[in-house]
């Protein structure tokens, strides 16, 4: 049992390192629709969908701290958002069990939307740099689409590579898979 948990923790750590590398080396240099994808958030969603809300929250916390460091942002801001996102996604999957490709797309899009809205509210509270609707049109919606589109292949790839549990990819498994 301890070995299994250790392997899971190792995989999660591997995902964190992979997320940092991908974000720093690749994703931050590629702009699509004027925005860049948030690999930390995508991985948090993937982990939360495959391993449940607690793992999602923990992964989100660590990924958030790494993101804050990588993006040179206020430490704790993204970890707060990702903890919430990871937890809510895990709860949603446990509740609705939507882990097919369309489900992943929908959950990832919603998660990205929620995360960005939270982030936007914080930014807005600290002093808005642009109009709310401008940000929605220029940042939130394009990134939501981009994150959602990237999450699906990432999820399928990680499931195929067995980095995340395969047995949870099915609806029934998601319903029965308790923490």
């Amino acid at each position: 049992m301890f070995r299994v948990q250790l392997i899971a923790a190792g995989k999660a750590l591997l995902l964190i390192v992979l997320a940092v590398a991908l974000q720093v080396l690749v994703v931050s240099r590629v702009s699509v629709l004027g925005v860049t994808a948030d690999i930390f958030l995508i991985f948090t969603v993937v982990v939360a969908m495959s391993r449940g809300s607690m793992h999602g929250a923990i992964f989100g916390f660590v990924a958030g701290i790494m993101a804050d460091i990588a993006f040179m942002e206020t430490l704790g801001l993204r970890s707060f958002i990702y903890v919430l996102t990871g937890y809510l996604v895990g709860m949603a999957v446990l509740r609705f069990g939507t882990t097919n490709a369309w489900g992943v797309l929908l959950v990832a899009g919603t998660a990205s939307l929620v995360a960005q809205m939270l982030y936007g509210i914080v930014q807005y509270a600290m002093g808005p740099r642009a109009g709310f609707f401008t940000m929605v049109a220029a940042q939130i919606l394009p990134e939501m689409v981009l994150d959602a589109l990237i999450t699906v292949p990432v999820y399928l790839l990680l499931a195929r590579l067995r980095v995340i549990p395969v047995h949870r990819a099915g609806v029934g498994a998601a319903r029965s898979g308790a923490e």
């Binding site: 590398a21 080396l25 607690m54 916390f61 958030g64 790494m66 430490l75 801001l77 970890s79 923490e179």
Partner: protein
């Protein structure tokens, strides 16, 4: 799900949220030299070599991407410019067409202003919408008809682009042959059935300009004893029932005399280029009058010579002193 496991999960979640908020608060409260910022800076400095290495590795790919992006945008720009070029070319052709149309219409106005027409004559510009398909007939169809006040037998003048001489391009086209409500058929003076009473300016010679199947204009029934030089201007004499006086027809191209013929046969070069006729002007003479009976100038000086030309061509319907216009028949 076991109850204690759910509580454990919620506990972890609450702890993580609190930890995040604590970090957030510390980040906001602490100065730049505080421990939280120091941790962040340390993390950032750990990542910076990775970032600079990443930048180096990514540079060729980025350059390639940028190159592709530039290529694509250049391709799109080229397509857009090509479209714009086509539009501008179209505009230029349109403007050129309008310029030419302007010149032609100005020519028609010139004809209207400088010509001598019966009192009450109205002028209507029409567009040529059709032409005779064979050389056996020479006619054009115009876009005005009875609804526009057009009736058979009315004279038609025109202006076509021509360089050189003063009157070049402007002159007599023909007469209305038949009329529908919105279109009319104009018999050209080059039609083999057409004949126009004409005179040569500067020589007092008079005759009849006739068309032919070949499209040439011949002025016949000119007395042999009258001296006619080439390049003299031929205008309508105004004797017939259709054409008012002094409408330019063409110039004398060559003068032919045969021993067996008691008349000169003069080849006429028309002012109007019938091949490129696009607009014409219909002279709407007052109804119930004939051109010959109502002209205002030039007629008195010609009355004495009129009998000679009318009698000279007794078989020509044009020379017949008909007072009423026969639609499609009057010459």
């Amino acid at each position: 799900m076991p109850r204690n496991k759910l509580a454990w999960r919620r506990g972890v979640f609450v702890i993580l949220i609190l930890a995040s908020l604590a970090l957030l608060t510390l980040s906001f409260r602490q100065t730049e030299s505080g421990p939280v910022h120091a941790v962040q800076e340390a993390g950032a400095s750990l990542l910076s070599p990775l970032q600079s290495w990443g930048a180096k590795v990514a540079e060729p790919f980025q350059d390639g991407y940028q190159w592709l992006k530039t290529l694509w945008s250049a391709h799109q720009r080229a397509e857009r410019l090509e479209e714009e070029l086509q539009i501008l070319k179209g505009e230029a052709i349109k403007l050129e067409e309008q310029g030419e149309e302007n010149l032609r219409l100005r020519g028609l106005l010139d004809l209207r202003d400088k010509g001598t027409y019966p009192d009450g004559t109205d002028f209507k510009v029409a567009r040529v919408i059709g032409k005779s398909p064979t050389r056996w007939q020479a006619w054009v169809q115009i876009d005005l008809g009875s609804a526009d006040g057009i009736r058979a037998g009315l004279p038609v003048v025109g202006a076509t682009p021509a360089a050189g001489e003063v009157l070049a391009g402007k002159g007599l086209v023909g007469k209305i042959l038949s009329v529908t409500e919105h279109t009319s058929q104009v018999q050209l003076i080059t039609d083999s059935e057409s004949s126009v009473m004409a005179k040569i300016q500067g020589s007092r010679a008079e005759g009849i300009v006739e068309g032919s199947v070949s499209g040439d204009l011949i002025m016949d029934y000119v007395d042999r004893d009258v001296v006619v030089e080439s390049k003299l201007v031929i205008v309508t004499s105004g004797y017939g029932p259709v054409y008012p006086a002094d409408i330019p027809i063409g110039i004398v191209a060559s003068v032919g005399e045969e021993d067996v013929n008691i008349y000169k046969e003069i080849e006429v070069r028309a002012f109007v280029d019938f091949r490129v006729l696009e607009e014409v002007m219909v002279l709407i003479l007052p109804e119930g009058t004939t051109a010959s009976s109502t002209w205002t100038t030039a007629a008195p000086t010609s009355t004495t010579t009129a009998p000679t030309s009318t009698t000279a061509a007794p078989t020509s319907t044009t020379s017949t002193p008909a007072t009423t216009v026969q639609p499609g028949m009057g010459r």
